[in-house]
Structures are given as structure tokens and as C-alpha cells.
Amino acid sequence: MVMEVDFLNILDYMLMFAFYYPLLMAYIWMGGATHYFIRWESKQHGTFMTPPTLSSYPSVSLMVPCHNEGDNVEETIQALTEQNYPNIEVIAINDGSTDNTGEILDQLATRYPRLRVVHLIENQGKAMALRMGAMASPNEYLVCVDGDALLDPNATTWMIKHLLDSPNVGAVTGNPRIRTRSTLLGKIQVGEFSSIIGLIKRAQRVYGQIFTISGVIAAFRKSALQDVGYWSVDAITEDIDISWKLQMAKWEIRFEPNALCWILMPETLSGLWKQRLRWAQGGMEVVSKYFKHLFHWQQRRMWILVVEYFVSALWAYTIIALFIIWLVIQFMPETANNLVIHKIPGTTSVALVLTCLLQFALSLFIDARYERGIGKYYYWMVWFPLAYWLLNVFTTIVGIPKALFRDRKARATWVSPDRGIRRIK
């Protein structure tokens, strides 16, 4: 009897944690993002289309690592050559592509005088491609863009401003915007990028450290990269890894919402699953890689990220545990009868609905500065809490063991992702 009461108490705590943790995080993200918006974004004159005037315009290398990007790389390079920044060179790194990427790049190099091409004979992975790009660049400032992304013409200026103004800034991450919106999954991701990724980046910027830059669009100071040993070739998510390396070496990372970059995202469940599993695996890999160094007092600013990461992982496992317990007690009627089931509609369901609606509204209100008409995605965002949190649970459950038992010495190479339903040319 005592054991059963204890079990019910534990179950009650687990249920409370499962329910209240996402709610609490929602308020933390909303609080941080609101502060960021009021403190920085709302005070800006003009929009992302009117870039700031810089004290100087040092040469910048725009680096594009490509692997089998034959369908996309031309428009990516074209967008880069149209940057409203006077001193740029574009370095495209063809990382052992097996399609026609190499030939396309060579042709483009004859058309665009500011384009240089680096061919790696064999596929070496994105991190190595970026390292070779950094080596080939004579410039101190590097902007890295994925081979299927379109950079807004003013993005370079917005990001370089941070690197020029603050010598402690080692990297600046931009604002990825989703292009592929044909399917339900595409539309849900628009909501996700607003109400989770956008809010988290702003909130983490306010609270001190950023979990990760967006690998698809980021600017770097080369001396900071040199200081930390550039991108790790064994990291499955080189963007999370470099973010932690820079911040642990006391370099600051900024988020610049005006630096827009239009990206292709998966629009199938299997494509989305693979991408998110890689993110989950990469997160755990980085945390475990640097774990022993994080106990040093000098790394105390990173502790908040570590705590958040582990509590989120614990939450994912709690959800699975609760599901298993629920299944088991279906065969134990006596115990099932003793359980206090939260009846719906009720107090907690109202709290859940109100919080989600508030989070959607706030995120779309903030994002309306960067994309007119984004409000129409409010209709599809109703899916997002279920889709996001469930996906998060399963990718965490699968990704963590994969990260812990992966061969760390193996080079992380490219896998061509699902890029949504493309335009018919």
C-alpha cells in the first residue's frame, strides 16, 4: 500500500514535470524574446532592407560549401554576388560532388569575376570544406552560407557590423527563413522557426550564451576561428560544435535578425526526421565532448545551456516513461483506479491553450518585421506544439544513444537532405 502511494506520488511529479516544463520554457523564451525585441529590434530605424552605415568596409569572403548542389548552387552564387557590400569575394568549395556541381561552378567562375572555386578531390564533409575555404581566403571576415540558401542582399552588412563594432564577437548568426511551404510540414516549420527557433535565439542572446549558430548562415572572425582551431571535422553538427568552442574560449556570439537567409527545408516526414535526428545527435555529441571542461569555474557562463539541455533530455525520457507506465497500468485495474486523471476540459488544458496561443501571437508579431503576410501561418501553427514536442521526444530518445556510441574518430560527411517540393523550372 505504501509502495503504491509512493509510486502514485512519483507518477504525479512526473506528470507535473511533463506538463509544466514546456509551459515554463515557453514563458522563459517569451520573456527573453520580448526583452530582446524591446531593447534592440524595436529601436531600430528602418527595416532589414535599410542596412546600417559601417565605419569601414573591410574585405569579406562569402564561403559556400557545396556537395551535390547542382540544382541550387547557381541561384545561391547569384544571390551572393548581389550583396550590397562593396568588398566581397565569393569562395565556393566543391566538396567532392558526384553530380555536375563542379562544372557549374567552373562556368559560373567565368561569369562572375568575384567568384573563386575550390575543388576538393574527395568528399571530406562540411567542416573540412569550410576549413579549406578559410585557408583559401585572404580575408579576416568570413560569411558562411549553405549551397542551397539565398542570402538577402543586406545580410553581409548587418552581420559585419557586429564584428567591426565589438572585438569580442567571434561569430554572428543570421535569421534563416523557410522557402519551402507547399506541404503541411513546410507550413508547420514556418511556425516552428518563428515560435521556437526565433524566440530561443533572442532569449539566449539576452541570457548570455547561444546554444548554436545557424550553420546555414553565420559570419566569423578568422582570428577567433584560428584561436579555437576552426571547425571540428569529426562533429556531426559542425555549427553546434563551433558555437561551443568559441563561447568556451570567451568569444561572444551574436544573433542578427536582420541578416535574412532563405533556406530550403524538408517537406517529408522521413526528411524531417533525418534532419532533426542529426540535430539531436549533434547536440548530445557536443555536450558530451566538452562535458569535463564545463566543470571549470571559467566555464560558468555555459552552465545555463548545459542545465537546459539536460532538463530537456530528461523531459523527453519522462514522456516516454509515462507512456510506458500508462500502457502497463492498463493491465492493473486497481492501480489505474487510484490514479488521479486530470480531467479535460479543465484548468491545465486552459493554461496550455492560452500559453501556446500567446507564444504563436508573440512570435508572429516579432517576425512580421521580416516577412509581410506571415500572420496567415497562424492557422497552421495549431499543429506545432504536438508536432514539435513529439518530434523532440523521439529524436532525443534515438539521438542521444546514437551520439554516445558513435565512433568519434570517424569523419562526418555530407548526406544530401530532402529539400522540399521545388519550383517547376
Binding site: 520573456g31 571530406q124 582570428s223 495549431v382
Partner: protein, 150 residues
């Protein structure tokens, strides 16, 4: 200027009408389920309009107010802690403002040293229009062919 609307790829037209209708209806059903979850809030409003929604009410007003106060207190506490944390970070940032100033430009020889290549060769490569690079199994530069100076 890049027009954002032209960058968005909405090829919903490529999906079958059945798929589109199912997506819209299922989303609508989902909204209705949300409405159901929020009935304790919605029903007083519909009552004002003369529509009486009958349901088994599990809504406990004192509990909700208690929950709301608890959530607000916890949020204030957490956000307050975060603000103190942010201010602490800001203080550290200001105190350490000059720490990295000494490292403000990557020296050519340092870059060459890091990648294990010769400085004069690196200078040539950095001016080349096209580079073909072969790496060893350990990732070190094994062979570089530079062509057409930029």
C-alpha cells in the same frame, strides 16, 4: 532588392486536391479540439451571446487562479534570475572587453602554420581563381593545384 514573396516556394498546387482538403479539415478539427480544451474560457463568452454550451465542467476557478499565480510567480522568479544572470554576463563582458583585442587579425604565417603549408605557397593559393586540393586521410593538405590568378 530581393522581393521576399518571390523566394517563397508554395507549390501547394502540385499536391492533390484530396490532400489539400484533408490537411485543411484535419487542421480545423485540431483547432476545434483546442477550442474544446479551452471551453471553460469560451463558454462564458458564448453565454453572453445567448449560446449555451453544455459540457462536464472540470474547471476549478480557485485552482486556475492559484495555478495562474503560481505560474506568474515562478516565471517572475525564473525571469528575475535570468535578468540577474544577464546583468552578471554583461558585467563580465564589460570587464573583459579588452581581453581579445590583442587578437584582431590572423597573421598569414599563423594561418599557414596551422594548416601545415608554406607561407609563400598560401599567398599564391589565396590569389588563385581555381584551386584543386587533395587531402590526406588525416585531413592535412597533400597536393594543391592553383590555376588562373584572380
Amino acid at each position: 532588392m530581393m522581393e521576399n514573396n518571390t523566394l517563397i516556394i508554395d507549390n501547394s498546387g502540385l499536391l492533390s486536391k484530396t490532400t489539400l482538403v484533408i490537411q485543411a479539415i484535419v487542421t480545423l478539427i485540431f483547432w476545434c479540439s483546442w477550442g474544446y480544451l479551452a471551453l471553460p474560457l469560451i463558454s462564458p463568452l458564448t453565454n453572453l451571446l445567448g449560446i449555451d454550451i453544455t459540457y462536464h465542467n472540470h474547471f476549478d476557478t480557485p485552482l486556475f487562479i492559484g495555478l495562474l499565480i503560481t505560474m506568474i510567480l515562478v516565471s517572475v522568479y525564473v525571469v528575475g534570475t535570468m535578468i540577474i544572470w544577464s546583468l552578471y554576463n554583461l558585467l563580465l563582458h564589460r570587464r573583459g572587453r579588452n581581453i581579445q583585442k590583442s587578437i584582431n587579425q590572423t597573421l598569414h604565417c599563423d594561418l599557414a602554420g596551422y594548416f601545415g603549408v608554406k607561407t609563400n605557397e598560401l599567398s599564391t593559393w589565396q590569389q588563385a581563381k581555381t584551386l584543386n586540393i587533395e587531402l590526406s586521410g588525416t585531413g592535412s593538405v597533400q597536393y594543391v593545384q592553383a590555376s588562373e590568378m584572380g
